[in-house]
Symmetry: D2
Subunit: 346 residues, 4 copies
């Protein structure tokens, strides 16, 4: 099957780059500029993040979501520290040990939780019984939340705030993996500040790749002090681009005139349309569908039929005659894509 | 001064992206494709490298020269190993300890050498007296050469071969930092194989960013066995792009129809023109000018005048009334740029 | 309370050094000898281990149980690897992240299991579904068992063998934390080989500190190939003693004439006596008592009384009016100690 | 040749343990005590260090000189930092990359200097031109001095002070490898404080192993703030002994009634006697003989004769008919040993 005939529900990172960002790259390409971020576009991009969050953030573009997460975590967790996160979190499941690598060997302390979410209560209890100050045990250092979660759910602002309070109470930092931050903001209809620094978040991985960029994320420090060592760690992690301005140019346009929210809205709406259609056909999604990811159990023969019809998606496991399917929509998913999927299934 | 009025001799990485690669990005953007290199463009790119080198290489795109170097070195040097390199080498001087980080703490064993080059003789002697097998000492693991060197000079094929023999004799791997590999190949007029696997090179950082790409290098393994763990280390280093195909698309076009050599030829020619002009004006370059980098001592007042006229370059140090200046040409340097520089200096 | 009036059930590492080992130290002290293990005592000690295991082992003395574990694991797990172990295991709970540190950031893959033990079935399933070969996931590298376990239980030879088969089937190494290996051998009445290399164990932490030594463990490699890099990692981990012979001298005597088994027998017998007494008083141990560790729930007022009477032990957690108590016997625990404890409790 | 017939000039770590420390071990062995330093002997030992230095130090016993150095350095240098030291320093030459390992990959910045010593001037210049704050370069973090040096020379108090001022001026920490600290203090006739905290030293490796202990060094923190993370790093480095009290007991006696100075005096006197004898025979030591190490060029035939007569020493290199010999005296070297050596040579 040729790559162009597929319909992608496999991942939002299989989507192409949205046209406004391609144009931004072309504009940036007009001439030379000093490397490593010493350029006007990068400065302008950082200003735009300050406007967006309404505070004096530092914003550092990197090229992968894993890089954003682990470079951030590396400045928050000492080698003898632990990072509290969900068993399903990307940092635990999908980064091949990058958090351990960039932190010099910190330990991920795994917690389960319904719909991919952690609660303030369970975190408080886990940290309180972790042996803080006892030399035999790794020391609680960071809580890392994913927003939107790997299960396609969303933390409400007050949920983040409660967890932020727990972090503060125990002297931990709060990190947010926002690979799908835009989808969360759109879903909540809130200000970006409401679920970040106002709720206690110290460092945010602000995703763009999954929402229309070529390969760009920003690491956002809400506290300049903690940002100091980031730049050395980014370089040392081989993540400082000489031609950084091409990342900055994308982010600059991404934030301008609400493009980032527009793209995420489309993805969320398509997930919603998909969920509605599935329910109508008798397939109840396994988690609340609050962003652009949806899990559902489908009969294996239907899965086969969908695959043969050119739909791309992941089967996360099988159980008898059923398969657990993950469906992800993106900025370029169309109503037609969704309706074709549903009619093929139906 | 606006960024567009500058004339760039600061670095080849300050140049923009060459138009053919911008077009390749646009073409790649036609639709979705599976992530992480599971796409046709990436497969095609790897094939092209096999044609180029005339052997069954593995080729892995990454986005920074430092990433290419240190991910490669990380598969060659154990944590208790040492990497022999020139005191001026990029891995020692300009990567903020990334080689140490990615190798788990290996040591760079520094050697001096005229015009930025190492010799087989000095390497043989250094390795022979390093305490191989003695538990108190780090163990010789890798020799790393830069081709073209940081001084703008070139290793001849027979020089690489002699060093390859030393590596083999002592059981070390041979690594080549080819951030400016294209400039070396053009300068030597040789086949890429002649200065790599046929001369004993195990892993090559094949640069493209400094020669017209946006942010792309390829790590080339001439021995598939040694490539096995690369993929885990790349992911773990946060250097595996979900949208890897946009890197592959650039490399694919870069290698097609000799574009990579064409770009490098322009840069080399302009360096040559600059050198000739400088000599004519009485300024002898400090090293042989064999690629696209040139060092020269200029009077401080001339340096000031050039800077005020919009020429960008680095002053590497001052000595009395003289400043040591580094001038780098790139694929987009024009004869007019060079002549303006010379006339401003003259 | 003075330290001499206490009765120790806190840990076998709170016991003093047994007299035969003190005498060995005095004998070793007769004169000078070359450092770093280049001495006759060390050579003789290693021979003794070959006799003990009936095969051509390499035996390396180190000074802490954590060092033995993590230096061994460091040679078995790559940085992008995972180490399967019990949630209660010492390497997870009590080493402050040392396994992550010495492996360059490998991940501990935690499994629960009754009475502190893992089963071949659960390991097989966990490894089979771990995403072997998939670049996003850490790669299964090692299974680590504790023998005797942290719960005071023992793996039967056939249990170890089944797990060894799973390891072999999936291409993993099998590591054994034998901080209380002597207690296990005594309890099983087997040959040391039966629960190690004949059952698939690659590397063993052979404990002595908890069984009468001053601060000595041996890392045993049943496969010389895998031992090669150990020596560099030991030195680099700062664990190679210049005066290594004082460790070797202890091990030499420890293995001579069955002293190691004699010491462990006493500890096991005292745990058994304690268990019998507790059961008689109505307190059923929480796990089978197979070695020298015993867990039991006691009323909080009894715990207080015991503590005030000079008995040392750890309370692992409280639940209403009950406390979960850990009692550890050692080579110097006497029948009188046990009986005093029981009568104080009774 | 049996080990007892040798006369040791190979290393002070080939000497046995001095009798007072063996007695201390026997005394400590009277009964059980809580592990990991929660014992009276350890508390008393730390008090003794406070008296010795006249300030509120933290003192942590470890078992190897390398451990003392690298655990200390690990708390002073970030992974992206550099540690200035002499090319001959133990941390560069003889620790198999342990400083890189424990610091998470910091770089040793090597400087040459006569007689194994660094000067304030060269350090000031090297740090000033190192690119502080520039993201491409590792960041100056620590200066590490060896006192007495590997060449057998001594830093005068005012020399240490000048270097301490340079460290302070540039915001670096000052570390001292005092594997032979006792020999330096005896040689200088100064107070320990004069060449440590009063001269700007932050962390000291206080050696005892080479001066009569079994395997004990203390890491001394003159600033409690910097000591905080040491305890986690020690445990994580697998260097926290459960039976720590046996290390503490040695240090306690070592410091009592000046035993440490007495032992070092004997070693220094014997080196002096050796130097005097060599000069008389026409062999001028290659460096000033200020402690207990001595280098001298001897004819190869004399070297052979000495070796055949049972004298142990290292030949550091050969040059024509000459060999460069290192001779080290220790607490148990006798006048007879020295005189036998000289008469065998003469």
């Amino acid at each position: 099957m040729s790559e162009t005939s597929i319909i992608n529900f496999a991942s939002d990172n299989a989507a192409p780059v949205c046209p406004q960002l391609m144009e931004a790259l072309a504009r940036e390409n007009a001439g030379p500029a000093l490397g490593y971020g010493n350029d006007n576009t990068t400065r302008q991009m950082e200003e735009r993040f300050r406007d967006l969050f309404g505070c004096n953030v530092r914003a550092f573009p990197v090229s992968t979501g894993t890089a954003a997460n682990v470079l951030g975590l590396g400045t928050l967790a000492p080698p003898y520290g632990s990072i509290y996160c969900h068993t399903l979190s990307h940092i635990q499941e999908d980064e091949c040990g990058a958090p351990e690598f960039f932190s010099g060997g910190a330990k991920l302390a795994l917690l389960d939780g319904e719909d991919g979410k952690l609660t303030a209560e369970q975190l408080d209890k886990a940290i309180a019984t972790s042996g803080k100050g006892v030399v035999h045990h790794v020391q609680p250092a960071v809580i890392s939340l994913t927003q939107a979660t790997e299960a396609g759910t969303i933390y409400q602002p007050e949920e983040v705030r409660s967890i932020g309070d727990v972090a503060k109470h125990h002297g931990l930092s709060l990190h947010m993996d926002g690979a799908r931050f835009a989808n969360a903001v759109v879903s909540l209809g809130c200000e970006p500040a409401d679920i970040t620094w106002k709720a206690g978040v110290d460092v945010l991985s602000f995703g763009a790749t999954k929402n229309g960029a070529m390969a760009v994320e920003a690491v956002i420090y809400f506290n300049a002090d903690k940002a100091e060592e980031f730049e050395f760690r980014r370089k040392r992690g081989a993540h400082l681009f000489s031609k950084l301005r091409y990342l900055s140019a994308q982010l600059d346009v991404y934030l301008r005139d609400g493009l980032w929210l527009e793209n995420a809205s489309q993805a969320n709406r398509m997930a919603d349309r998909l969920a509605t259609g599935l329910r109508r056909t008798g397939y109840e999604p396994l988690h609340p569908v609050e962003a652009n990811i949806l899990f559902v159990s489908l009969p294996l023969d239907r899965i086969r039929k969908l695959e043969q019809s050119g739909f791309l998606f992941y089967v996360m496991g099988k159980n008898g005659e059923q398969g657990k399917v993950r469906l992800v929509t993106s900025w370029d998913t169309t109503e037609q894509d969704v309706d074709l999927f549903l009619s093929c299934l139906g």
